[in-house]
Symmetry: C2
Subunit: 400 residues, 2 copies
């Protein structure tokens, strides 16, 4: 294949550290403590119930294995709208699109809105694959610093003031952010919506985790705050609250945007797999979600506290800091300057623990000494063993 064959955008498409790590980790499945991937707690995936629901769906016959509507199976759409309404989210049917995981919502948003060279704002750190999607459509990414209250919106305003044009799109994960675990404060939410309105920017609200709050108070989504003043594309998913292998997510946006997304999807993956849309529909129709979410929230809360305790114990004597998320899957660990997270990744794997190094979450490769730790996947005792191994890896690395 001659290099000249590739499209210009191909140069912007690079491999994800997360995926590379997954392959390495999956090659040694039993001994590595998995603090890397954003996978749900395996014990809390309702496998038996899924089995029963699958058997029930299979009764639909060949229809359960046929193409479905591009906008999503009717049964799932109805249940999902009901479920959203129950959470105070009044969504019109024509504002809802079922997607193949939340990831596809990000892809569709960028496909429809990001031209080559368009200014796109992301948080720093940000979700690797979110930034990769923007880069794939050749957006010009500007990273905005974050602190314990999420994106620093004053810094955002200053950065944008230095640009010739306002951002086309602002990509944010405001609630229990990936990778930091922090949440955008109420005041900053208001201010972000105001800025977007002033600039005529589109808000891309990536929200896989907000239903998994285990501490603090519910906050309004950007979509709710914007209330039509600012165009918002909200991306959500069953990956974190049910199971990621289902590849069922959804996007909420203005009807005109959803209609265009439906058109675009026909030339991307046609529709989301039918069987598992119906599985999820039956799960919702059976009234299983609320109890499931309660159990998850309690468990993830326990796991977060346990991991923080393990960090306090095992990293004693190290000048390390970590975030204090009120929900979601991740916390962000900052080790003393001079410790390379990339070098630590290899040593840590040899010691039997996996995480994602900080530079994976920055276009510019910042956060050389930071780590994303998922407290979601491993039970507390095992996570503590992971942190113990991490400390051993740090000590080994420091000794060389």
């Amino acid at each position: 294949m001659r290099r000249s064959h590739y499209a210009a955008r191909a140069a912007r498409i690079t491999g994800s550290v997360i995926d590379a790590s997954t392959s390495i980790i999956q090659a040694r499945p039993n001994d590595v403590v998995r603090l890397a991937m954003g996978s749900p707690a395996a014990d809390f995936v309702p496998v038996e119930l899924f089995g029963e629901l699958l058997a029930a769906v299979a009764v639909d016959g060949a229809d359960a294995f046929d193409y479905g509507p591009t906008e999503g199976e009717r049964s799932l759409r109805e249940e999902l709208l009901r479920c959203l309404a129950g959470r105070g989210e009044d969504v019109a049917p024509e504002s809802l699109l079922v997607t193949t995981g939340g990831m596809q919502g990000l892809d569709l948003a960028c496909k429809l809105f990001v031209d080559a060279g368009d200014l796109v704002v992301v948080e720093s750190p940000t979700y690797t694959n979110g930034a990769a999607t923007i880069a794939g459509y050749e957006g010009r990414i500007v990273e905005v610093p974050c602190d314990g209250d999420g994106m620093d919106v004053d810094a955002l305003a200053e950065l944008v003031a230095r640009e010739p044009a306002p951002p086309k799109l602002i990509y944010t994960i405001p609630t229990f952010q990936n990778p930091s675990g922090t949440t955008l404060s109420p005041a900053r939410r208001e201010r972000l919506v105001e800025l977007a309105e002033r600039w005529g920017s589109l808000l891309l609200e990536d929200d896989p985790y907000s239903w998994l709050r285990f501490a603090g108070n519910e906050l309004p989504s950007l979509r709710a705050l914007a209330a039509g003043r600012v165009p918002v594309i909200a991306v959500q998913t069953f990956s974190k609250i049910l199971a990621p292998g289902l590849r069922v997510g959804w996007t909420i946006a203005a009807p005109e945007v959803i209609a265009r997304m439906v058109d675009a999807r026909q030339a991307m993956d046609t529709c989301t797999n039918t069987l598992q849309q119906r599985l999820v529909a039956r799960f919702l129709a059976g009234g299983h979600l609320d109890g499931h979410l309660d159990a998850l929230r309690a468990e993830y809360g326990r796991r977060k506290v346990a991991m923080q305790a393990a960090l306090g114990d095992e990293l004693a004597g190290l000048d390390a800091r970590w975030t204090d998320p009120e929900g979601g899957f991740f916390l962000w660990l900052t080790l003393p300057e001079g410790i390379s997270a990339a070098a630590l990744f290899t040593t840590a794997l040899e010691q039997g623990v996996a995480f994602i190094p900080g530079p994976a979450f920055s276009v510019g490769g910042a956060f050389p000494s930071a780590l994303r730790l998922a407290f979601s996947a491993e039970a507390p005792e095992r996570a503590r063993e992971g942190i113990r191994r991490l400390r051993r890896a740090i000590d080994l690395l420091e000794a060389t």
Copy 2:
């Protein structure tokens, strides 16, 4: 949403007639004879076996519902490579990517290779969503006429001679083409590969149907003929040979291209749904495929013959022609000039039969009096009733 927000490519993304038709047809599920969608025969989807295999997969526990490798589940990759080898296709593991339906292979190919303004050749008529994918990446589409032997490669050479640069990519469905049902002849296959080699063009071989040959002799794929001389991306799928709702397909290309596709996918849909990849793997491992394909070939052969007989009987006295496919799902019906397939679509639906109008398969809206008829989905008696209704619709339309 201000119109100016949209990316330039959004203007190239338009709704598919196929999908619009599907929505209309699905709104009246029981009475319409379905000759529109490329759906497999429902009676031949092994629903009971699928149910058993799903129960077996669910024994894998939460792992069956977790993220999997972006390149595809290991079990499916192994079975698929074995299956391809059994068909004389020697594919290296690093040349294989599992995709979310065949459609995603087309999307990935265009994402990696089509720059705005690049010349891309397609057949006329061609698969609606294939052309839509190319348009979505802003390729400049040139349509090449086809006849009963597939793409007219001499016409292709003449068209390209008039262009300032050779095509970046040649998109073709050489075997049992969608929508025409015709097959590229052996001589033209050789010539097409030669032309691509001379021009340095990439061949995108869309091949959902070649395992469903019910007449004539097997032909070598373009990939086999090219034998590395010309870069070929071959796109295949379980949608037509098993069930489309699974959304499991695969792409074969040079290892370097596959590696880039894996990178690109991480920012598109992360991975194909895990459960149904494992379902397909178990179906293959159980040795079910060969017998299943034999049954399908026999049935689709019967259905094609029956539809042709029905056309001969019911369209008697009309100057209509239709193709004679040796496999696949479709035949192409050309009605007398002056009959508008678009107008007929509405009248035919009122009469209780659905098809796709010819202009859907042409960027320039050619084929005003042609129809794509799928003989795959309906049993012969019901298909005959559909053709009877079609004749009634034609007569009604002619009488107005």
